[in-house]
């Protein structure tokens, strides 16, 4: 097993380098330069000032030299400094990560909490009123544009009823609140964003769960379990559910990289200072170091998540474990 993991890890290195080369090339190929925001269409800016900036950021060197410089720094875990404000990129990202992860984890937890029971019950009572109405419900969530739903909820629950704050993640007097007050305040601010973001994700997971459950229910061992005289409850929740959950692990693994990526539209509407906004603004400003750092972190997490999902499978699914021994 250990050799397997080491082998897999080693094979990730060239993949990773390939990803960085492609990303680096693509963002440098996009027209425009990081200096544009400061210098474009501002008659007060002379051409010299622009050249000064270009030199300062080493943008006058060939792209491959810039790439090697960047890679060299990366090996020392130095993501460089942002072209926009001169702050270390890692600081900028660490400033945005916690809120993004918090929202994504909460929303994912909510999705699983709601979607799994929906999926299971829908499968067990296939074709019932519950099954059909839930299908409708989750697909409405899937189809409704998130930004629209967000604005509608903000307008009704926030502006007209005044139940929830509309914007941001904290109140203005946040600093003066007690710890519990702070948690409640943030929770109050996050209810609408998390619900909206979870609503859109229900369809995927609940449908997977339903399908997976349906497959399992028709397996021979379920019939055997029934034949053994086990209660229906035990058959469904002990034997069927356990096996039906296996594919969900893959999905869970694959959604790990998504935890650090925020949605731009979503964060913009709710004024959440998260990763999505940071990366979007960095791309628009051609802030290469920040964009690259975001891509690298995303790439590493995706690669690792795949690996972790495979390893988890190994432990959870006895068929794989035993298959390997023989």
């Amino acid at each position: 097993m250990i050799t397997y993991i080491v082998k897999r890890l080693l094979s990730l290195v060239p993949v990773f380098i390939g990803i960085t080369i492609v990303s680096f090339a693509v963002i440098h190929l996009a027209p425009g330069q990081p200096t544009d925001l400061m210098t474009q269409l501002n008659p007060k800016v002379s051409l010299e000032a622009k050249e000064k900036l270009i030199k300062l950021y080493n943008l006058d060197k060939p792209v491959y030299v810039q790439y090697i410089d960047w890679l060299r720094r990366l090996i020392r875990f130095d993501f460089g400094k942002s072209f926009i404000d001169g702050r270390p990129v890692i600081k900028k990202i660490l400033g945005r990560l916690p809120i993004t992860i918090l929202i994504n984890v909460c929303s994912m937890a909510l999705i699983f909490l709601v979607a799994l029971p929906i999926g299971v019950i829908s499968a067990v009572k296939r074709g019932s009123l519950f099954d059909r109405s839930m299908t409708l419900f989750v697909f409405i969530g899937f189809a409704a544009p998130g930004f629209w739903l967000a604005l509608i909820l903000m307008s009704i629950l926030g502006v007209q009823l005044g139940w929830f704050p509309v914007v941001g993640i904290k109140s203005l007097d946040f600093e003066h609140l007690s710890l519990i007050g702070k948690i409640l305040d943030m929770g109050h601010h996050l209810i609408i964003p998390i619900s909206v973001s979870a609503f859109g994700g229900l369809a995927g997971i609940s449908r997977y769960m339903r399908q997976s459950m349906l497959n399992v229910i028709h397996e021979d061992y379920i019939r055997t379990a029934r034949a053994k005289g086990l209660s229906e409850r035990e058959v469904i929740y002990k034997h069927a559910l356990r096996n039906a959950l296996l594919p969900i692990i893959t999905i869970l693994g694959l959604s790990i990289p998504g935890l650090i990526g925020g949605s731009v539209i979503f964060e913009t509407i709710f004024s959440i200072p998260g990763m999505g906004q940071l990366l979007y603004q960095s791309v628009m400003a051609r802030d290469y170091p920040t964009v690259m750092a975001g891509l690298v972190i995303g790439a590493v997490l995706t690669l690792l998540a795949n690996l972790i999902a495979d390893i988890a499978y190994f432990y959870v699914d006895p068929r794989i474990r035993i298959g390997q021994r023989h």
Binding site: A30, P31, G32, Q33, D36, L37, M38, T39, Q40, L41, N42, P43, K44, V45, S46, L47, E48, A49, K50, K52, L53, L56, K81, I84, D85, G86, R87, K92, G95, R96, L151, M154, S155, G158, V159, G162, P165, V166, V167, G168, I169, K170, L172, D173, H176, E267, T268, I269, F270, S271, P273, Q277, L278, Q281, M284, R286
Partner: protein, 536 residues
């Protein structure tokens, strides 16, 4: 008797007010300290180092934390800020600034001429990537005469130079050994201004506290809170919950969404011309647009008022040249061309454009009159303007295509490289009318701002003269002439000056709209004690 009967109810009302509300009446008239002003911005600030700050959010904060030597007053006239007075000597070659002696930095250190000299040195330092160096490179020598006197000598008289001293002055004692690109000062600035920096959470909030020692007077409003709300629609919702006290409205919000009881009661709406204009620029190197008659014809073929109605819902004015109506450089005598498609057709015929094959489009030398307008993405007003122009020009037989491009691509690949036929863009203007960089024929290199390649020797000479003349009346005459010439030449199709449409919560008193807008006397705004919302 009749009169008394009529007066009685009035008297009763009078007494009621005077007995019941004596306190609140007094409160309503007498400014008092307290409360916070909460406003919002689409984008976060980038850096609070004044000479590096080039975006509007950074500029907003820098403007409250720092001062320049001069500033513009309510009527857009230059007045002293950190400078008490100044003298212009040697026909404009030398400016001597006499500084205020009662100013100190927020950390208590007195402000002196050394700080001015330091700021100047950083502005011209080749290691500092400031976008504002240009105006200061024209200085031959800056001398500190004593702690409160600075003498600036220019290579040649440079009238916009005076206004350039509106640049915020930075503290020498805190920055002399710092690297401006990395210093923590960029996120914890210390200035001389009416507000002191308190905190900045990236992408969320910037908070300032009032400076009790401010040299003009302590601002009435205690806190200034700047929230980052990246979406216009959300910002508008937040205004409705009174979570923010002020925002700039879109024409649609101004006319359709704020005519409610709630808004009339809780907000004051303002409307005044903004300091900028939108235009369609021609590439004058293009054969089609070389003939002035063609450009004039297009101006006659397009109803600017229609564009203002359609795009701005009427909230703007027709633009006739490179200055806004509020500026003293604006020439009232330049009348906008009327909408006259017949005249347009005549002019085009004179220029050799005729519909020979009767297909509805004009031709010359066997080629159809067709061109493409490009503009940038995410600006609905420009896109719609392009569509209206497209329809109107179709009526006179010119085929127009509209193409929308991402901002960076648009500028780098098309505007800067002059690979365009026509573009729709806008300029926001500085308060000084100098527009040398936009119209002078020497400014046509790639990436410079005369991207239409306009060249008129008379205008060149006038632009030079306008820079060298300090006398206001003489200078005004020069710019009036430039205004006239540009309107005749039509290097741009000047379109409109949009209105600024801010709302401010009605608990704020002391706002006096003026030609420069409403923000100029912010330190005089105040909130009656009974209406204050934010009390710690």
């Amino acid at each position: 008797m009749f009169i008394i009967r009529k007066l009685l109810p009035l008297l009763a009302v009078f007494f009621l007010i005077s007995f019941d509300n004596i306190d609140s009446l007094a409160d309503d008239q007498q400014p008092c300290y307290g409360d916070a002003f909460v406003t919002a911005s689409i984008a976060d600030a980038r850096t609070l180092i004044p000479i590096l700050a080039s975006d509007s959010a950074s500029g907003d904060i820098v403007g409250l934390v720092f001062n320049g030597l001069v500033k513009y007053d309510r009527d857009i006239e230059l007045v002293g800020d950190l400078a008490e007075s100044w003298e212009i000597l040697d026909d404009g070659l030398t400016i001597v600034f006499h500084l205020r002696k009662d100013v100190s930095w927020h950390d208590g250190v007195p402000f002196t001429a050394e700080d001015v000299e330091f700021t100047y040195q950083k502005l011209i330092d080749p290691e500092v990537p400031t976008p504002y160096g240009g105006d200061f490179k024209k200085i031959e020598l800056l001398e500190v005469i004593d702690d409160y006197t600075v003498r600036v000598r220019y290579h040649e008289p440079f009238a916009p130079g005076l206004a350039s001293w509106g640049m915020s002055i930075m503290p020498k004692h805190l920055l002399k050994s710092a690297d401006l690109m990395t210093t923590s000062f960029a996120r914890h600035p210390i200035g001389t201004g009416p507000y002191k920096f308190k905190r900045w959470h990236s992408g969320e909030i910037i908070e300032l506290d009032s400076n009790h020692q401010y040299f003009e007077h302590r601002p009435w409003i205690d806190r200034y809170i700047y929230r980052i709300i990246p979406d216009q629609a959300t910002m508008f919702l937040e205004v409705q919950t009174e979570g923010i006290d002020s925002m700039g409205l879109s024409p649609l919000q101004y006319t359709r969404q704020t005519e409610t009881k709630f808004f009339r009661k809780r907000f004051q709406k303002f409307r005044y011309p903004s300091f900028g204009y939108t235009y369609m620029a021609y590439n004058l190197l293009d054969e089609k647009f070389k003939d002035r008659r063609v450009r004039q014809a297009i101006s006659y073929a397009i109803d600017k008022q229609e564009i203002i109605e359609g795009v701005l819902l009427g909230l703007g004015r027709v633009c006739t040249g490179p200055f806004v109506p509020e500026s003293w450089a604006y020439n009232e005598d330049v009348r906008p061309a009327s909408y006259d498609p017949e005249k347009a057709r005549r002019l085009l015929r004179k220029a050799g454009w005729q519909d020979i094959n009767a297909d509805g489009w004009l031709e010359k030398d066997g080629k159809r009159f067709e061109f493409t307008i490009i503009t940038n993405q995410a600006n609905d007003q420009r896109r719609r303007t392009g569509e209206i122009i497209q329809r109107r020009l179709k009526e006179v037989g010119i085929k127009v295509n509209v193409r929308i491009l991402e901002w960076a691509v648009f500028l780098n690949e098309f505007v800067n490289k002059k690979r365009f036929e026509a573009i729709i863009l806008g300029w926001s203007l500085s308060r000084d009318p100098d527009c040398f960089d936009i119209w002078h024929s020497s400014k046509t290199k790639e990436g410079e701002f005369n991207f239409v390649s306009y060249s008129n020797p008379v205008v060149d000479r006038l632009l030079d003269e306008g820079r060298r003349t300090f006398d206001r009346d003489k200078r005004a005459r020069i710019y009036h002439r430039i205004h006239e010439l540009l309107y005749e030449d039509q290097p741009y199709l000047f379109l409109f000056v949009p209105d600024a449409l801010p709302v401010v919560n009605s608990r704020f008193k002391g706002i006096e709209p003026a030609p420069i807008g409403i923000g100029y006397n912010f330190i005089d705004w105040w909130v009656p004690k009974t209406e204050q919302r934010y009390t710690r």
